[in-house]
Symmetry: C2
Subunit: 205 residues, 2 copies
Amino acid sequence: MNNFKTQFSFLEGELRDDILSVSSIKTFEKNVEILKEEQYIKVLPLVLKGLVKVFSRFGDKELLLYYIQPMQSCVMSFAALLKNRPSRVFAITEEETEILLLPAEKIPGWIKTFPSFNELFYQQYDMRYTDLLDTIEHILVNKMDVRLYDYLLRKAEIAEDKSLKISHGQIANELGTAREVITRVIKKLESEGKVKQSKNGIVLL
Amino acid sequence: MNNFKTQFSFLEGELRDDILSVSSIKTFEKNVEILKEEQYIKVLPLVLKGLVKVFSRFGDKELLLYYIQPMQSCVMSFAALLKNRPSRVFAITEEETEILLLPAEKIPGWIKTFPSFNELFYQQYDMRYTDLLDTIEHILVNKMDVRLYDYLLRKAEIAEDKSLKISHGQIANELGTAREVITRVIKKLESEGKVKQSKNGIVLL
DNA sequence: CTCTAATGGTGACCTTAGTCACTGCAAAGC
DNA sequence: GCTTTGCAGTGACTAAGGTCACCATTAGAG
């Protein structure tokens, strides 16, 4: 895909050619856990188009940590392949997503040779560190109504659609709580006029 | 201090000389908020001896995020000075601590030139990302008794002393809760035979 | 068309932990 | 000495949210 070159114009031209010559592009359907099938083939993903959500499992609880948007990568994969260690987080496509898969063995060389590539991953780490701090703040200080509302706002903003098709159970998973709680709290938000539920999903007002 | 060279023997010799020639070493007393006074003079800290705790403030709540031990640095400072942005976290010495202060303007050059230096900061980011994940897990899934006990265990382990001199109020701050809660929960731990309280502090059994 | 699975809705209940309003105690400062 | 200050301990209360046991509605599969 040629939009790679324009999207990643901040990378050195030589590096972009190099990447394209050894990487593959793969398209994933919606709701597919990526890097599951590739867990032995070592690759580093770079999202070109679409949306990926990253979450963690703690026993039977799950929690959405952040989204990977186009032009972003997954620092957990990055760390995992540099240290040859399993990932502690999971990634699922939120929509149909096109991903560039960089072969792991080329990464250390690119990092050494191309400052822009190195810079890119520092930025990714910085972004995720900040995301995790935000997540901690949310869990620690906000009640469920605020957490849920912010979650919906963010989701709508990222999907660029104020109408969300998602089940209460799904939301509960992403917020690490129970389905009944979401049903209750979303009712509350509805009564406050912040959202509206219909058979087509949840609409933000 | 010459133990810098032995501690950081994984860094290139040239880099170590370079660092020592332009950096200063500063010793901080116990319980001092570091990087407060230096917030205009831009420096990157590298802990040589002692212990620093890093925490975040959310409104009136605080939360201990992780410790910086010898041979470690603070990724938040690193990110803050690269992006010329204020830090979202705070650092306080837990004991008397000796810190090497690297001048900010030298960092980008060292990163480009010395792979081992670059590697060091990737490792720091990776470590803190993992620490934050652990913190999230604790807040989300564990009850206060488990959180408190783990907190005390970790503190004792890091301080290499099973006897901790710390007030209930202090602990409450670091765990982002209220003093009375700690008093209650620590009583519970005592009744379970896990800790013992005396006038000298809390002893882990 | 019927049966089933997924989803949403709800009331009752319980546990956790945050808050309030105190009391007791001991060390430090005057 | 007394008094202030900081820390520990406690009972009573409350709110949030997790759990349980259901029932209703809808969409899809057979």
